[in-house]
């Protein structure tokens, strides 16, 4: 089994909607534990710019439902304000965790911009969903379609959720699930926290094998682990089983059935924690 490439660069994807403080905290925590550099990407969505340029453009307030004209100058101002706010929050969080950081503002199509920058990153952190009405329409909705195409690891974090222990790893015996387990040991070793390994195998013999492998991998770096069995079932049932373990952060391989596109949207919200997808 190959050793995963070290994660040296974490990319935090931001859009024009006000970010929750945990976005910066979680990304900084992750970068600090992995010893990586943090880069924030603030995307000024070109679609929004086009919309604002239309003669009849107007927006409806998300909480008041009031209609007001939407002008390009308003959008520009909102981007500036939000970018400044995000930069400030990032600098503060990064300073707390002693992480090197950079902040980049890009105007363009959000998905394309993300894919482009992800190519030179080892991990992308995005915020998805949230309790606000229309969140599915809003937060990073534009990039959802490209997440599966990203060549690197991906942290999907529901709004308001921190990156925390215990680290629950879904180990299926695949190479990428092995990478997920190793990543979990790094996170736990560098910041503390328990590691819980879920062995996804119905066959007892297979499960025993997976157990040995998992114990070997964790043992090689001196990290204790707790092991649970998870029979391969449908994503919803698996999500319920994982939720019962009260995970702080879930790590799983991108090729896991649970990480399919449809599930990806629901999983973090369903289990109420951040999900780290590892290739």
């Amino acid at each position: 089994m190959s050793v995963p490439e070290p994660i040296r660069r974490v990319l935090l994807a931001l859009d024009a909607v006000a970010q929750d403080a945990e976005a910066f905290e979680a990304a900084s925590t992750l970068a600090a534990r992995l010893g990586a550099e943090l880069e924030a990407l603030f995307v000024e969505d070109v679609d929004l710019a086009r919309l604002a340029a239309l003669p009849f453009a107007r927006e409806l307030g998300l909480s008041s439902a009031s209609r007001r004209p939407l002008q390009h100058v308003d959008v520009e101002r909102a981007w500036r304000v939000e970018a400044l706010r995000a930069r400030t929050a990032l600098s503060q969080a990064a300073a707390r965790h002693r992480v090197r950081w950079s902040f980049r503002v890009v105007r363009g199509e959000a998905g394309a911009a993300l894919v482009q920058l992800a190519a030179r990153s080892d991990l992308v952190a995005v915020t998805l969903g949230g309790a606000a009405a229309g969140s599915r329409v809003s937060r990073m909705a534009a990039v959802e379609s490209v997440l599966q195409q990203l060549p690197c690891a991906l942290l999907v974090r529901p709004v308001g959720v921190a990156l925390r222990a215990p680290f629950v790893v879904l180990y299926e015996g695949t190479e990428s699930s092995g990478h997920a387990l190793r990543l979990a040991t790094r996170l736990a070793r560098n910041g503390g926290g328990e590691i819980v390994v879920l062995l996804a195998a119905a066959d007892p013999a297979r499960r025993a094998l997976l157990r040995v492998q998992a114990e070997d991998m964790a043992g090689s770096v001196g990290m204790p682990i707790a092991i649970h069995a998870l029979a391969p079932v449908d994503p919803a049932a698996a999500a319920a089983a994982i939720r019962a373990l009260r995970p702080g952060t879930l790590l799983l391989a991108t090729d896991s059935p649970l990480a399919r596109a449809a599930a990806l949207r629901q999983l973090p919200a369903a289990i109420g924690c951040s999900t780290l997808l590892v290739r």
């Binding site: 859009d15 024009a16 909607v17 006000a18 679609d47 929004l48 086009r50 919309l51 340029a53 239309l54 003669p55 009849f56 453009a57 107007r58 927006e59 409806l60 307030g61 998300l62 909480s63 008041s64 439902a65 209609r67 939407l70 308003d74 959008v75 909102a78 981007w79 939000e82 309790a131 009405a133 229309g134 969140s135 599915r136 329409v137 809003s138 937060r139 909705a141 319920a240 939720r243 019962a244 919200a269 369903a270």
Partner: protein, 811 residues
């Protein structure tokens, strides 16, 4: 007139004869269980405690040291022991109106049990409620509800988005809302592209967008309703889950307290509150206090919120036998009525029902409360608070600020408790009479006066009872036993203390002190019994400790700094006798009184009064002299003299009329120009008919003059004139009695001015003959002639006359 004979030594001190007692020592005597000399007070006490009507509280009036406290306490304790234990009282939270805590009446001993049970319930709930909320079942059901709500939202937006897509319109998130934009091939049209569209398409797109916006508006407006509905369902779930945890625990308590409807009702309210505030239990472990920069702050966890469920046992009678008897030593307003305490939180003072504290009235409710009247009256508003509680028969805890409407901050209004107790106020008679006179409510609230006397009759029977009382006191204080001689001496002292040979004091504090001090001296002497010598020594030692001022006064007389003659004769000068009371010690000393007369307007000038150094009683006595002169001598002529009287070398206020006869003797001597024997001293008040009336402090006065005479040497001529009515009060020191027995000192009982003036001058007073004339060579004749002469002079000068000194012999 027959000369006044001096009193026999036996009359000077009625000494108790030890031989009258059959016992040898007080160990032979049984304890005295009855109350001595207070039959009236005991009867009143029985009545006051027995009658169960509003307002029949008791006021015990009597002098300090008469055993009021101990007697009342013993009697109340005896009565209370046979009465039922009153109920416990608790305050619990009023969940509807937290500032109005509810009062719970419970059978005695139940309050603490309920408190423990509720605490246990809270402990159980702290575990049970988080457990059910942590259960997978709850999490799954809640997740399901939340998902349903979320899906409802998302579905609405998703449907709208799909509808928009169908019309080539995109739903775009803007910085603060949402917007619709036409698109083509997945991309939003640029303005140029839009401009190139046919007008019909533009029109269509704008209409479509308008319709979509309406729908979006509708969705956004529905979101709060959906959220409320979702919250309601989650709350229902929470209630259902909480009920599952709470119900059976509270049901157990319901069984325990099934016969106490108020507790059941409170348990219902607790159940309701727990269900409505389950979050408090879920985060209870976060509660408690933290200290920030020295300020204690309640954390926003269970520490605060769970207090609401506790029970404040205000009055606990679990260890009480019978009705309570409470003595409140510091009867301040809060100590009586109870108080509302506060705790500081972030610089603000806050309170709740747990900070209600009981007062003495709470503790004594259902029993008896003893209070010192003076202390109650000295404490601000304590008396008013006590009266209000007794009048309303309700006990309402409130702060003084609230009671006086001085503060209007949010505080508590605890539910009042019914008040049913007997208050026994103990105070001096003066306080009782002042309250009765000036406080109209007093008579309504304290209908029973328990009047303690300060003395009792002295006869052989009561003397024996008194001996038993002495025996009882000695045993109680673990003192040595007294032999009968010592008992007799204590009895004599008991009579001396009330200044009455026929009475005995019932101020047992003084007798107890005497016994303790006698015990001390007996032990010092290595004796196993207290003897008469020990009692004598105790009395003398006590006098010695206290008589520094007396010695000083006598010293200045002996050194001639204060002029007092004890030999020779002087016109218009008499030795009066005064008593000085210093704390509990009194002593007498002579004081020179002089009189001077001249032609005047018929006035007797009291120099003490003129300089405002005389009290009203003294002034009254002096004015009586003018009445006596005017009535007895030359009544048909105007009184044309001006007489001045003075206490020589006194520099403080003179009060009392015991020197009135002395002043009259001086005046008569001055008018008659007949000298008075300075070897005699005089005391006694007088009326307008010249009758000598009783005075106080007779023993001290005699002893005061005696001591001076002893210091200068007893001549056998010296003595004191006292009112005959005071003979019964004589309990003189042994040395005085011995001097009289040896003929070296004399005590003359005098009933009239005439008797006295004869003794003082050696000249007959004189009685009017059949012609209404006083005989020649009598004092009265000389006085009358002098007054007639003055009257004639006044006529000669032309009345009114004044200013000329009238000299010499009578006309």
């Amino acid at each position: 007139m027959a000369p006044v004979e001096p009193l026999a030594p036996e009359a000077l001190c009625r000494q108790c004869d030890p031989a009258q007692f059959a016992f040898q020592t007080t160990d032979d005597l049984a304890d005295l269980t009855e109350v001595l000399g207070q039959a009236r007070a005991v009867e009143a006490l029985k009545f006051g405690i027995g009658i169960r009507r509003p307002g029949y509280n008791l006021f015990v009036l009597g002098a300090p040291g008469t055993g009021r406290h101990s007697l009342v306490r013993q009697y109340l304790a005896r009565c209370a022991a046979a009465e039922a234990v009153p109920p416990d009282w608790c305050y619990v939270n009023n969940f509807d109106e937290p500032h109005k805590p509810r009062a719970l009446q419970l059978p005695s001993g139940t309050g603490v049990r309920l408190k423990r049970d509720i605490e246990q319930l809270m402990d159980d709930l702290r575990g049970a409620i988080p457990a059910v909320f942590e259960s997978e079942e709850y999490r799954a059901r809640r997740q399901e509800l939340e998902e349903k709500l979320k899906e409802q939202h998302e579905q609405a937006f998703e449907t709208l988005r799909e509808e928009a897509e169908a019309h080539d319109v995109a739903l775009v998130r803007t910085p603060s809302g949402m917007a619709f934009a036409p698109k083509r091939k997945g991309e939003i049209l640029s303005p140029d592209e839009y401009d190139k569209l046919p007008d019909a398409d533009k029109q269509r797109l704008q209409e479509v967008i308008a319709v979509l916006e309406e729908k979006l508006t509708h969705i956004i407006q529905q979101v709060p309703q959906w959220r409320r509905e979702g919250q309601r369902r989650i709350q229902e779930l929470d209630r259902e889950v909480t009920m599952a945890a709470v119900g059976h625990l509270i049901d157990e308590l319901r069984k325990t307290y099934a016969d106490l409807p108020p507790v059941l009702a409170h348990l219902d309210r607790i159940q309701q509150a727990v269900i409505e505030n389950a979050d408090d239990f879920r985060h209870a472990e976060e509660g408690g206090e933290v200290n920030i920069l020295g300020i204690t702050v309640q954390r926003a966890g269970g520490g605060v919120s769970l207090r609401r469920f506790q029970v404040n046992v205000l009055v606990d009678h679990s260890a009480t036998a019978g009705a309570p008897v409470v003595y409140e030593d510091n009867p301040s307003f809060p100590a009586l009525i109870g108080r509302i305490e506060h705790i500081a939180q972030m610089g603000a003072l806050v309170t709740d029902f747990m900070l209600l504290k009981a007062g003495a009235l709470h503790r004594a409710n259902g029993g008896y409360l003893m209070l010192d009247a003076r202390k109650v009256l000295l404490q601000p508003f304590a008396w008013e608070g006590l009266k209000r509680a007794l009048s309303s028969a309700q006990l309402r805890i409130e702060s003084l600020g609230q009671a006086l409407s001085l503060v209007s901050t949010v505080s508590l209004e605890p539910e009042p408790m019914p008040l049913d107790l007997k208050v026994v106020m103990i105070g001096e008679p003066l306080l009782y009479y002042l309250l009765a006179e000036y406080d109209p409510e007093f008579s309504e609230l304290f209908k029973v006066a328990v009047d303690f006397g300060h003395d009792m009759t002295r006869d052989p029977e009561t003397s024996l009872l008194y001996a038993r009382l002495i025996a009882t006191l000695a045993r109680r204080d673990k003192l040595l036993a007294l032999d009968r001689g010592a008992v007799a001496r204590v009895l004599d002292q008991a009579a001396r203390l009330v200044e009455d040979a026929e009475k005995l004091t019932v101020r047992m504090r003084e007798i107890t002190d005497l016994l303790r001090e006698s015990d001390h001296w007996a032990r010092e002497a290595g004796r196993t019994l207290i003897t008469v010598e020990d009692v004598e020594r105790a009395i003398e030692a006590r006098i010695y400790r206290q008589d520094r001022i007396r010695e000083r006064v006598q010293e200045v007389i002996e050194r001639g700094l204060v002029l007092i003659d004890t030999t020779g004769e002087r016109v218009g000068q008499v030795n009066g006798l005064a008593v000085v009371q210093l704390g509990e010690f009194a002593f007498g000393h002579p004081s020179r009184i002089t009189a001077n007369v001249r032609l005047g307007k018929g006035e007797v000038i009291d120099i003490q009064r003129e300089v405002e150094l005389a009290g009203p009683i003294h002034s009254k006595g002096v004015l009586i002299l003018a009445g006596f002169l005017g009535a007895r001598y030359a009544a048909d002529r105007p009184l044309a003299l001006s007489a001045s009287l003075v206490f020589e070398q006194t520099y403080g206020e003179v009060e009392g009329d015991s020197a009135a006869s002395t002043e009259l003797y001086a005046l008569l001597s001055a008018l008659a120009v007949v000298p008075i024997r300075q070897s005699l001293a005089v005391t006694g008040s007088v009326n307008q008919h010249g009758e000598i009336q009783a005075i106080g402090g007779v023993n001290e006065k005699i002893e005061g003059f005696f001591d001076l005479c002893v210091a200068r040497g007893l001549s056998g001529e010296q003595g004191v004139l006292i009112p005959a009515a005071n003979v019964q009060h004589l309990m003189l020191r042994r040395d005085v009695v011995e001097a009289v027995r040896n003929g070296r000192f004399h005590v003359y009982p005098v009933t009239t001015i005439d008797e006295g003036i004869e003794l003082l001058t050696g000249m007959p007073a004189g009685v009017r003959d059949e012609n209404g004339e006083f005989p020649d060579g009598t004092i009265n004749q000389r006085v009358e002639l002098r007054l007639i002469g003055l009257s004639e002079l006044a006529r000669a000068y032309g009345a009114p006359v004044g200013g000329a000194e009238e000299p010499g012999e009578p006309a």
